[in-house]
Amino acid sequence: MSCEEPTTSPTPENNITVVSSDGKEFLLDLKLTEQSETLARLISNFEYDRTDVKKDPVPLGNITSAQMQKIIEWLQHHRYYPKWEQNDIHYSTSFTFETWVEEYLNIPNNEMFELLNAANYLNIPRLFSTICRIMASRITGKSAEQIRTVLNIKTDVKNDVYTGIPIQEDSSSSEDGMSEISLSPSPPPI
C-alpha cells in the first residue's frame, strides 16, 4: 500500500517539540503524532492541539535521537495511511512487505530491537506490528536446526534424566552485545 505524500512543513500552531534522551529537539507535526497513541494521549491531555495553549517540549527519556529520527521517517511515510486496526492473528501464510518497509528495516538486529522498544514505548502499532512480523519471518518456514542457527543456540543436548527433555543453554544472551531490554513488566509465573 502506498499513499501520496504532499509536502507540508510544520508551523508553530500545528506542531510540538519532543526531546530525545540525548537532548536533541525534534519538531513534530501534530498530524504525525496521531500514529503514536502515547503522544496522541499526551497531546489530548495537555490540550496541545489548541492554538492558545503554550506547548512545552515533551521529553522522551527512553528514545535516542537516532531512534527518533528513524521513527519520524516512519511517521512521515505513513502520514496519510488509514488508521491501523489490529486484526486477530491466526495464520499468516505470507510475510511479504512493501519495498519501502524492507529497505527501512534493513538494519542491524540490535537497531531493530531498539526500534521495537521505541515503537512499543510510543505505542505506534503499525510499526510495532511490522517489526514483530519481520522478526517472525526470520524463523517461519525454517527447520529446528536452522532456527538454532538464526538464534545462535548451541546444539549440544543434555537430557534431563527425570523428564527426558533436553536441557540446553542458548548463547544468544551476551554475544550480540545488547543489554537486556527492560521496558515490559516481568513475565508472569508459569
Binding site: I89, H90, Y91, S92, F95, N109, N110, F113, L116, N117, N120, F128, S129, C132, R133, M135, A136, S137, R138, I139, T140, G141, K142, S143, A144, E145, I147, R148, V150, L151, N152, I153, K154, T155, V157, N159, D160, T163, G164, I165, P166, I167, Q168, E169, D170, S172, S173, E175, D176, M178, E180, I181, S182, L183, S184, P185, S186, P187, P188, I190
Partner: protein, 343 residues
C-alpha cells in the same frame, strides 16, 4: 544472529503469534529456554481453550499424537512417531531422551477445504523418530507437548497386546483422565485377558469408550457395568462375548454392538419387553446381528412400509415409530438394515 529470546515477554508473544503451531513446536525443541518462552506464550486461558482435541494413539510399532486447534485456529498437528532405522548425526538431531527429528525437520502439510466457508484447515504432519522404546518415547513426546500447549490428552487409543504390563501401567497412569478411550488388539498376537480387563477397569472414559479388542478366548467376560464412569457412547467392536442380559442393562446413552451373536430370538425378546412397558437405560442402540432379521414379523400391528405407524407401547402412551429399510454393500458383503425408530 537474531537475539529473539532477549525480547520482553509481551513483545516476544507478539512475534510468536505470527508462527503457526508447527513452527512453535520447532522453536520449542531448540532449547529449554525456547520451550519456556513458547510455554509462556501458550499459557493464557485463551490459548488453552484453542485445543479441541488431544489424541494419543499407541499402535504396534508406531504411535500418533494429534492436536486439533480447529476452529479457533485453522490448524492441527498430526505427529507420527516411527522407529529410527539407522541413526546418523548428520541426518538426525536428538531433541529428548530417545527422540529424534531429521535435521531438515518439516511437516507434510495438507490443506483441507471447508464446506461452509472458504477457509482452509492446515494439517501439519511431521515425523518424530524414537530409538528403542516406543511407549516411553511417546510418553516423553506427549509430556513435552502437554507442557508446551498447557493441555492434557483428551483421547487415548491403545493396541494393548503390543505392550507389556509395565508399559501399559505407565500409559494408564499418565493418561487416566482421558475422556475418550479405545482399547484394541493386534490380531496377530495373543490377547492377555487379565491385562485387558485391568485396562478396562482402570480407564475413566466419560464421553466415548470403544472396546475394539478381539478376545481369542471364548470364555472372555466383562461386566459392562463395572466401569468407573458411564461413557456417553459405548462401542463394542467384537461383541460375541456380550450376553443379551448385558445389552438390556447397558447404561450408556448410545451403544454400538458390532459383530454380535444375537439373532431373531433376541430381538423379538427386545420388542416384547418394550411392548410390555420395559424402558431401557439407554436412548440409542445399534446392533449388528449374525443373521438377517425379520423385524416386521415381530410386530403384530399393521405393517408399515417407509411410512409412519403408530405402535402402542403402553396403554396410555402412543409412540410414533418410523420404519427404516436399507440395503448397502461394502467390502465385507451386504448389510440389510431393517428397523424402527421411535419418537
Amino acid at each position: 544472529m537474531l537475539p529473539l529470546l532477549k525480547l520482553p515477554i509481551l513483545m516476544l508473544n507478539r512475534v510468536l503469534a505470527h508462527l503457526n503451531v508447527f513452527e512453535l513446536v520447532s522453536l520449542s525443541v531448540c532449547s529449554s529456554r525456547c520451550k519456556s518462552r513458547c510455554m509462556q506464550f501458550r499459557s493464557s486461558i485463551k490459548m488453552k481453550k484453542q485445543i479441541e482435541k488431544f489424541h494419543v494413539e499407541f499402535l504396534s510399532d508406531s504411535s500418533k499424537v494429534d492436536i486439533n486447534f480447529y476452529p479457533s485456529l485453522q490448524q492441527c498437528l498430526n505427529f507420527e512417531l516411527k522407529k529410527l532405522v539407522e541413526h546418523s548425526d548428520d541426518l538426525y538431531m536428538c531433541i529428548a531422551n530417545g527422540l529424534y527429528i531429521s535435521r531438515n525437520w518439516s511437516p507434510n502439510v495438507k490443506h483441507i477445504g471447508h464446506d461452509i466457508s472458504a477457509t482452509w484447515l492446515w494439517k501439519f504432519r511431521p515425523i518424530v523418530y524414537y530409538s528403542t522404546d516406543l511407549a516411553a518415547s511417546t510418553l516423553t513426546w506427549v509430556r513435552f507437548l502437554s507442557d508446551l500447549f498447557s493441555a492434557q490428552p483428551t483421547s487415548l487409543s491403545l493396541i494393548f497386546n503390543c505392550f507389556n504390563t509395565e508399559e501399559i501401567d505407565r500409559m494408564m497412569d499418565c493418561h487416566c483422565s482421558v475422556t475418550n478411550f479405545e482399547i484394541d488388539s493386534d490380531s496377530n498376537r495373543g490377547v492377555d485377558q487379565k491385562l485387558a480387563l485391568s485396562i478396562l477397569e482402570r480407564q475413566n472414559a466419560t464421553k466415548e469408550l470403544k472396546i475394539s479388542l478381539r478376545p481369542t478366548n471364548e470364555t472372555f467376560q466383562f461386566d459392562l457395568n463395572s466401569f468407573r464412569n458411564i461413557p456417553e457412547f459405548l462401542e463394542i467392536g467384537y461383541s460375541f462375548w456380550v450376553k443379551w442380559e448385558q445389552v438390556l442393562d447397558l447404561r450408556s446413552n448410545a451403544n454400538y454392538i458390532l459383530r454380535s451373536n444375537f439373532s431373531n430370538v433376541h430381538f423379538k425378546d427386545l420388542i416384547e419387553k418394550w411392548k410390555d412397558g420395559w424402558t431401557p437405560k439407554w436412548n440409542q442402540i445399534m446392533i449388528e446381528a449374525n443373521e438377517i432379521l425379520d423385524i416386521d414379523s415381530w410386530i403384530n400391528d399393521p405393517k408399515p412400509n417407509n411410512a409412519c405407524v403408530q405402535v402402542s407401547i403402553q396403554s396410555e402412551i402412543s409412540v410414533w415409530s418410523y420404519h427404516q429399510k436399507r440395503i448397502s454393500h461394502n467390502s465385507s458383503g451386504q448389510i440389510d438394515c431393517n428397523g424402527y425408530c421411535g419418537e
